[in-house]
Symmetry: C2
Subunit: 341 residues, 2 copies
């Protein structure tokens, strides 16, 4: 085990990188939800002025990237690395959004856990001494995801009660090696957990066991109790996955208190907005983190947050071939700490 490793799968950063700024761009429906005031830009046009939903998603992500750079007063050319990925086949939302950025690029795939994965690697690149300024970002788009993973929108397929609504949204964070703001202090990188769930319309249940394993390991590795944090926020288990997670913790006698919440629950009013089990997609946890969680920390409402994004690592092909759905969850501790001057 290296010096930064504490416990089984957690690292404690020696010089916690600072989240200098975050930006979130979302679609119309997300802009009508409870977090509407928290987003930097709400598009009324699902096409974002483009001719296809795939191009729309790239345009949204590019807009989010530009906004984050602007808010951090950082020229894209001064970034050492970009860490990005998304749900589209071959992660083309990211590559087309960032092809003109002229910044060294690491492409990622972590399904809906991508924001935590990109944030982890971005923070590690700074703490490891490889970079001073980096960007971590990701996106999803309801329409591009729906037609790629499920059915053509025109088909008007019925949704099951456990299904989640892919968020049209993007989130981007600029991390720096010093400065004021929330800092990334600990990273618990997830292992793949396959609980044998096969229902592709119940992703929450497929991902909850991964969230449980990662959170339990994080608490054990750090010696922290859940109550150390002002909020423990998974993303995106949705309503039913959140219940599964609560039950798994209850079996251990752990009080799954009201500090536990989920990005998929926060982003929509699931009853009023008819989103069934809540939001999902890389852009859900990304826009909630960059738009809402970071602001809560900047405002001093929360001092310590554990952000634990979850992903379902299947594809339409593996589901058609009868495979189960492996899940993953990466947890990142973000804390308002005073920098040594």
């Amino acid at each position: 085990m290296s010096g930064k490793h504490i416990g089984k799968q957690t690292i404690a950063l020696q010089n916690p990188p600072c989240i200098a700024a975050g930006a979130a761009v979302v679609g119309k429906k997300e802009g009508e939800g409870p977090l509407r005031e928290r987003f930097d830009y709400i598009s009324q046009d699902s096409y974002f002025g483009q001719k296809s939903w795939e191009k729309a998603e790239s345009t949204m992500l590019k807009q989010c990237f530009d906004l984050a750079c602007d808010k951090a007063q950082t020229a894209p050319s001064s970034l050492d690395y970009i860490f990005s990925g998304d749900l589209l086949n071959q992660c083309v939302s990211s590559t087309f959004a960032l092809r003109d950025s002229n910044v060294p690029f690491f492409g990622l795939y972590g399904a809906c856990s991508t924001m935590a994965e990109s944030l982890s690697l971005a923070a590690m690149s700074i703490d490891g001494g490889f970079a001073d300024t980096v960007c971590a970002l990701t996106s999803s788009h309801f329409c591009s995801a729906e037609r790629q993973f499920r059915l053509p929108l025109e088909y008007g397929g019925q949704r099951t009660p456990t299904s989640q609504w892919t968020v049209t949204g993007a989130g981007a964070l600029i991390l720096k090696n010093s400065g004021s703001g929330p800092h990334v202090t600990h990273i618990t990188t997830g292992r793949i957990v396959d609980a044998g769930v096969t229902d592709a319309n119940n992703m929450g249940a497929a991902m909850a066991p991964a969230a449980y394993e990662t959170l339990k390991t994080h608490f054990a590795d750090t010696g922290r109790l859940p109550g150390y944090y002002d909020a423990v926020i998974t993303g995106d288990l949705g309503v039913f996955g959140h219940d599964v997670l609560a039950e798994l913790f209850a079996n251990d006698g752990v009080n799954f208190s009201n500090i536990f919440t989920d990005c998929g629950i926060l982003i929509f009013n699931v009853k009023l907005q008819d989103t069934h089990a809540g939001g999902s997609g890389c852009g859900c946890s990304a826009s909630v983190l960059a738009g809402h969680i970071i602001k809560c920390m900047q405002e001093g409402l929360w001092k310590r947050v554990l952000f634990a994004a979850t992903g379902a690592l299947m594809s339409p092909t593996t589901s058609m071939q009868g495979e189960t759905i492996p899940g993953i969850c990466h947890a990142v501790a973000i804390e308002n700490i005073q920098e040594a001057s």
Copy 2:
């Protein structure tokens, strides 16, 4: 710029991680090529005992992972991280191959540049003090790629002269923070370069400008001339992409000497094996690196190699929507150095 940054986009590792072992598993056709003696396992069955080519690819990658761990005398449970990705939609070859590994997992997407990307991040995780032992790996399968990216195999479509043959192969490396063997000393992470090529059957031409930019930057950042290396090996530009790269360097007055070669050229006898412009796919550069290049270094034939894997960051959807093909190239310097005792 951080302390490890030299020049524009290159980092010099302070404690170069050691490549403790590499393993390569390939298909029948690759096992009939010039490197047949270099691979650890050649499967005569394109299905690897499975019922689909996607499951076959996962099985091949899992076999390669197990072999690499075995050769490095490393229990999978002692790995701190795995860095893996592949060409299949949602990178399912990697996630299904490694879902039982029980190791913290970072999923990547870099198209055919994935081996260099995973090797870069794996080396950085050790040099940054986050890990002692990690695995970097990737795969591709001719049959799963062909039906996903092009046409059903049963269609028997004609191939253009510039087309490349997706390698059925996997490569895995185990990196450690100390030990004997080749070491990763420098990493030049690529930027996305889009030269405007739209022909999805001429990936070499689409990726060559990215290789040119990354190699030129690597030489400028390190102050090294190409001749510093015993071999500069791109992967996978193929025959025509290699020619484009030679021409780009010739325009600068740089002698593109015989130390320059390409994994896509090395793996097949393109005339005898009817593979047109040569090999491609994540598994091409991965199996050539893990099977051939590392062995050449272990045998002392080469002391310094620059491994520069290239990727085409498009999808069938973006090509159908008329987009150009962005390319990327990550360069990793691997050197036989004596460790300070």
